[in-house]
Symmetry: C2
Subunit: 307 residues, 2 copies
């Protein structure tokens, strides 16, 4: 089986699971991890024995150039980090998830990737990512109709970060609860900064763009430990389409998944890193990638097994 | 929006719905239909006003060359018909569904397509077809685990044809009933040839390779009209995967659809005809095709809408 190598860039939630997904893959070897300079030298179990480095230059000097870099930092760093990696000639995969900024990012990464003969697969988690494939496939199967993407119940990383940024909030967890028709309510657990009043903080959360449009409940917790008890990785989605194939209505398609969120995101990244080694230079989202390229081994085997 | 033209090759169940799917697509025009010489001249409503021809030569002479030919004859004719169409320089799509013969067919069509600078998309219905995409995507998301594809309840075309071929059977409908774990039971309605004994025919059906391995119930009907009442187009599938992403178990993925069978198959064929006009020469199955190429209009629009 043809093998490929990766580096994991960032040791947050996704990075930890990416190391595991690379370890579990039959054809993938993780060469090392790039992490914050101030963390180097500590040997957390999450590194699983891998060497760690402050940047790609020192990683490449010590362990060689990986076939792809799995970018596991925060989404907001992707527009700066990924072009720089592409300019250094690395193939990259990332799970950038700010939906409205994806088209501009794809254009920018496409130019940089082409110029440097590199491959970038962006927005490659589960939403955006595998959900995007399903939304596109469902439209190809029933072109007229409506799709609802119902998220949850689970913790939204984006909304938790948004809640944490609000004045008076020391820490927060935001749970997404589907209420049908692709709409959601938000349940936010907050730990207040000292001296803050709950009703004022609640009003600020409600006024925030992230929360203004949905039904919202805010609950106060009194300690970090109590907050931690609300912050597991369970998540899910129910995607439903009812529509017409040709002139025939009542075609009913649905996709339901219940998953560990960062584990799935990291797995999709590792599968995309494999695909990145098989594609022509340029920037791709998951709807641009033939699914067979995500799988280990030979196309012919998968045609016999899966088609 | 960039437009494309098709010809429908064969006016059976799938062909009738393919004409409708082409009509419903915003970017597709059906130039005409190739049908059995003995049927020409009749003007069934199913033709929806389109001109009909005995072969592709006369179709091209009268209405021009289509960008793709949608092959809607029986699966068993595909290995002969499609290479001949590719040799005439047509792009083709078909819904060949004899799973075990797909790898050899893909090799053969791949050679012929490359030699003639044509595109063939084969096995492009829902199973094989869109289900194949889902099976591959589910493995990319949770590489270790088990997938069950549960078909039905609905009429199996393949099993109905197999039952009809059995000695003593004048006509038959075979219904597939899922019993869990990717296993199925078969309910076969038979109309006997005159003078045949039900218990003997039942034994012959049970001995047939198509029916030998599943739980089987055979029911006798007494007329073609009674049999026709069992033969609607409703079908469905429940695809379930439970597995691990990386080292994380309990990832649960499922896809459930309830559809008009030939309407969905024909729609997938029209979506693939569009993709065929956008791919490099060669033979593809649906797992080889980026899903965005199945949709009308521009990639950039779909990245903004669906990713």
């Amino acid at each position: 089986m043809k093998e490929f190598t990766v580096a994991v860039y960032g040791l947050g939630n996704i990075g930890r699971y990416a190391i595991e997904a690379a370890e579990a893959a039959p054809d993938c070897r993780c060469l090392g991890v790039v992490r914050r300079r101030e963390s180097l030298g500590t040997r957390p179990f999450d590194l699983r024995g891998l060497p760690d480095f402050p940047d790609m230059d020192s990683l490449v000097a010590a362990v060689g150039k990986p076939d792809a870099v799995i970018v596991c930092g925060p989404s907001r760093n992707v527009p700066a980090d990924v072009p720089s990696l592409l300019e250094q000639g690395f193939n990259t995969v990332d799970s950038f998830d700010i939906h409205t900024e994806i088209p501009a990012l794809v254009r920018k990464l496409g130019e940089t990737a082409a110029k440097n003969s590199a491959v970038s697969i962006t927005a490659a988690g589960w939403d955006p990512g595998t959900d995007s494939v399903l939304r596109a496939l469902f439209e190809a199967m029933a072109p007229s109709g409506t799709t609802f993407t119902n998220f949850g119940r689970g913790r939204s990383m984006g909304h938790s970060v948004a809640a944490r940024a609000i004045q008076g909030v020391k820490d927060a967890t935001s749970i997404t609860i589907p209420v049908g028709g692709g709409r959601h309510s938000r349940l936010v657990y907050v730990l207040l900064e000292e001296g803050e009043r709950f009703d004022e903080v609640r009003a600020r959360i409600k006024a925030d763009e992230y929360f203004a449009h949905d039904d919202l409940e805010v609950r106060e917790v009194k300690s970090e430990m109590e907050l931690a008890l609300t912050a597991d990785h369970s998540h899910g989605v129910l995607m439903e389409r009812i529509g017409a194939s040709g002139l025939t209505s009542n075609q009913r398609l649905s996709f339901d998944m219940r998953i560990n969120n960062p584990a799935l995101t990291a797995q999709v990244l590792v599968s995309c890193a494999r695909a990145a080694t098989r594609l022509a230079p340029g920037c791709y989202t998951l709807i641009d990638v033939p699914v067979v390229k995500l799988l280990p081994g030979e196309r012919e085997t998968h045609i016999a097994r899966l088609v």
